[in-house]
Symmetry: C2
DNA sequence: GACGAACACGAACGATTGCTCGTACTTTGA
DNA sequence: TCAAAGTACGAGCAATCGTTCGTGTTCGTC
């Protein structure tokens, strides 16, 4: 007889089980990257993971719970990614160079993790994905706020939030255009995106390099690096 | 016995039939607006139209053909909409005023035709909707190119195209943010969008009002007004 | 008024999908 | 060593959805 509900707390996962969960999440990522979330069948995910459909439900209560777990993984991964790429020194660079790095990093991350992009972009027309993308956006927005704050220490919370959100929304909107462009054209579209963000952000966070304002302790505590 | 395949050419539609087709399209629009395209059931559309599921297939071969027809309707509707709102005189206004009208018109159209927005925004993560949104974007892009050309007659085709596409992509990206904002905040986000487009487009198409360049005949033939 | 075509109905088919269930093997811990 | 819990299987259930089909009604035309 089955002992306990799988998603419930109080299930003492064995080593083998934890490995399986990871395999399933990896499979889900791959399938989602190929077919999109709505078309990613639970059976397809199970097959991709080399596992029977039933086993899938030993670890996740339903399909949505897989999405949730994946979003959590991506949130952490994205946080680490941006933390290493957007440190205090980088933030103080001339704005165009900073944007260059950000936009370039986005492209890299997108190529490396296609499923991330699917969830990150998850359109507002799909209720299920809307929450996932919101969560992923929030993670990036938090980092952007910190970067902006490094450049302009006095910026009020509300303004920071708006700047970050609008910047992300812009990039989210333009990026499909970037990815659908071929060869040379892609660079040109990327340049437009950078130019747009530059002229939008410049007047607020400054175009040039920013001098170290204070030798005081860091404004935000460093997160644990993994 | 059933006479002919319904979607096929050579079906002599009666008055009643043409009315039914319109009712079905209206129903599809309403259902899509409420649930999104993927979740818009053919049965739900039929029920909404006050028609049996079978009758639906008297007029459309399958669900995708309904989408196609709807896209076509929207393309025409959108063309008329922007043609009346973005005429030659409007195009020569100071840029910030022009943008004000464009962005405001978008919001109006979105409120009036929620389903249009669903298809227009159709994310690149859904293969089916991608084509639909591309088609709708193309329609708006054509009008934007004309507007830009009115302001800067010498602008090369390629540049025009890029400007139009990037502008639309930006608006597409930021608009969900606009619509999710409440009350006062919405105006603030809209202002950001306008500011961004202003600083992006200004250097190319000019910030101020544009004087009538030539009293020559209109550069594009006026479309038939309905 | 009669014939064919268009219109209309709605039960039900076939395919798909998320998920369950009965069963059996493996690991853990006492 | 042995029972309880964890892991694994895969056939198949239940529900949904797009679509078909047999039948009956209305309309256009002569």
């Amino acid at each position: 007889m089955a002992a306990k509900r799988p998603g419930e707390a109080g299930v003492r996962r064995q080593e083998r089980g934890r490995r399986r969960m990871q395999e399933i999440l990896d499979a889900a990522e791959a399938v989602i990257a190929e077919t999109g979330y709505e078309d990613a069948t639970t059976n397809a995910i199970a097959a991709r993971a080399g596992v029977s459909p039933g086993s899938l439900y030993q670890f996740f209560r339903n399909k949505d719970e897989i999405l949730e777990a994946l979003v959590q993984v991506f949130t952490e991964r994205s946080r680490d990614f941006w933390h290493t790429r957007l440190d205090a020194d980088t933030a103080l660079l001339p704005l165009d160079e900073l944007l260059d790095r950000i936009v370039h990093a986005m492209a890299v991350f997108k190529d490396e993790r296609p499923a991330y992009w699917v969830l990150f972009h998850g359109s507002p027309t799909s209720a299920r994905l809307a929450r996932a993308s919101e969560e992923l956006h929030a993670g990036v927005a938090a980092r952007l706020r910190t970067v902006f704050l490094w450049r302009v220490p006095g910026l009020p919370e509300e303004r920071l939030d708006l700047l970050a959100k609008v910047s992300i929304a812009t990039a989210t909107g333009v990026f499909p255009l970037v990815m659908s462009a071929e060869g040379e054209q892609r660079g040109r579209v990327l340049a437009e995106l950078k130019g747009m963000l530059l002229s939008y952000l410049g007047p607020v966070v400054g175009f040039g390099a920013v001098p170290r304002p204070v030798p005081a302790p860091a404004p935000t505590p460093a997160p644990p690096v993994t």
